[in-house]
Structures are given as structure tokens and as C-alpha cells.
Symmetry: C2
Subunit: 140 residues, 2 copies
């Protein structure tokens, strides 16, 4: 029963485990992209029933609990990913393509920055804006 792991996860964070929360978590665990709320609803609704407002409410709850990470790539809608899939991103400013990467070496450096400021790091969001090497640069 794959649901047990997710149920435990919710309980560990003091959240009730509902059918709908399971659906949303499963969608995010199965997604390799970064779906927005409407897309998560679309995927979760396949064969099931769930309202969009419920998806929004669940995403807000799960984000607050840290089970889900909310991202913004500047296209007007928030995107989400499961913490288990958490990683950083590089956005190709020409094509809009998103490249994921995971640079473990950054964690300690960033932690020390927070510490120096008198804080304990909880999480961080890093987004690189870049263009493919060799791209023609318009200096007109």
C-alpha cells in the first residue's frame, strides 16, 4: 500500500490525511515537471473528483507544512514540487526551458550566510537565468 508512506508523512506534520491530500501528493511525487495548481487539479481529477479550490487550499497547507515547495518562474502562476523532488533551477531566458540541477556544495555555504545574519536556514530558492553558450548576442 503506497498510501501508507504519505499518510505517515502527513501525520508527522500534524496534518489530517485525506483522500484529496493523498491525490495531490501522489501527483506531485509522480511529476518531473513543475505543475501549476490548475495542472495539478487536472492530473488529480483523472478518474477522481476534486475541486480546484480544494487543490489551492491543499497546496497552501502542504506548502506551509513544508511538504511541498512553491516556486515562481515569473509566468504569473505559482508552480509546485514535492520536497522529495526539491532541486534548483536554471531558466533558459531564450526558450523558457527549465533545467534542473542539484549542487550539494551550496547548502553549507548558504547555511553559513544565514548563520552570519543570525538565522537558522530552513530552505532556500535559487534560480539561475542564463542563455545557452554560443547563443548569438544581439548588441544592436
Amino acid at each position: 500500500m503506497p498510501g501508507h508512506r504519505l499518510e505517515q508523512l502527513c501525520h508527522d506534520h500534524g496534518l489530517r490525511f485525506t483522500e484529496h491530500r493523498r491525490m495531490v501528493l501522489e501527483v506531485l511525487d509522480a511529476s518531473t515537471d513543475h505543475p501549476a495548481a490548475s495542472e495539478i487539479h487536472r492530473r488529480a481529477a483523472v478518474g477522481h473528483s476534486i475541486s480546484v479550490s480544494t487543490v489551492y487550499r491543499i497546496l497552501k497547507t502542504l506548502s506551509a507544512a513544508g511538504l511541498v515547495v512553491r516556486r515562481d518562474f515569473g509566468d504569473g502562476k505559482a508552480r509546485y514540487e514535492s520536497v522529495t523532488r526539491r532541486h534548483d533551477h536554471l531558466v533558459d531566458v531564450r526558450s523558457g526551458a527549465i533545467v534542473e540541477f542539484d549542487e550539494a556544495a551550496l547548502q553549507p555555504i548558504i547555511e553559513s550566510i544565514a548563520a552570519r545574519l543570525g538565522y537558522r536556514l530552513i530552505d532556500y530558492r535559487l534560480e539561475l537565468l542564463a542563455e545557452a553558450r554560443g547563443a548569438v548576442i544581439d548588441r544592436s
Copy 2:
């Protein structure tokens, strides 16, 4: 005439220099916080006339040109800062307070990450989520 610098800046980026663009740039250059579009409009409108839609259009243009940096702190509205004030941020998840910092050592590390992925870094956004040291942690 302080307007000359801004005029040059616009011209260098192929943008027409208008009274309204000057107003928005001046507001951002004078702001130490991270005003959202509506707040920028409010500040620019003091003693002048400018419509909100114009502020939005200008911010989009200036962002695309790289004269202004668009940020998202997760409260539903985009925030802006002048490139000349560009820096990274730490968000105190308890109070919502934003602490600015500038860690020069990060730049080369992040550039190398982009390079490794086959890209040339244009810019990056780093946001730390943290809690004050010594804050009581609720492990209920």
C-alpha cells in the same frame, strides 16, 4: 540634472526616455525596500500623474531590458528593485521580515554551475527562508 544619467541608461538599452519611465526609475533608485507595482505607482504619483497600467507596462519593459529586477516573495504580487540596488534576500519565515545581503563569493560558484550545464549566466535569484536563531521550535 540627475535625469541625464537615467536618460543615458534608457538610451543604452534602446529604450525611449519618457517622463514616466524617469519617474519609475527614480522611485526604484530611491527605494530601499521592494515595492510592488501598486506601491511604485503610489510613490510615483505623488505630485505627478501616471496610470497604473502604465506603471505595469514600464516595469515589464524595464525588467525585460534588465534595468529592473523582478522578485517574488510569495505574497501574490511581484516586487521590484533597481539593478543598481540588486542583492539577495533572507526572509524571516516567522515575521516576514526581509533581510538583504550581498555575498560576492557566490557569483563565481553560481557561474560555474551554469557553465557546467552549458550556459552563460545572466543573473540569478537567491532567497533564503530562515528563522531567527534561538527561536522556539514547536515540535508538538
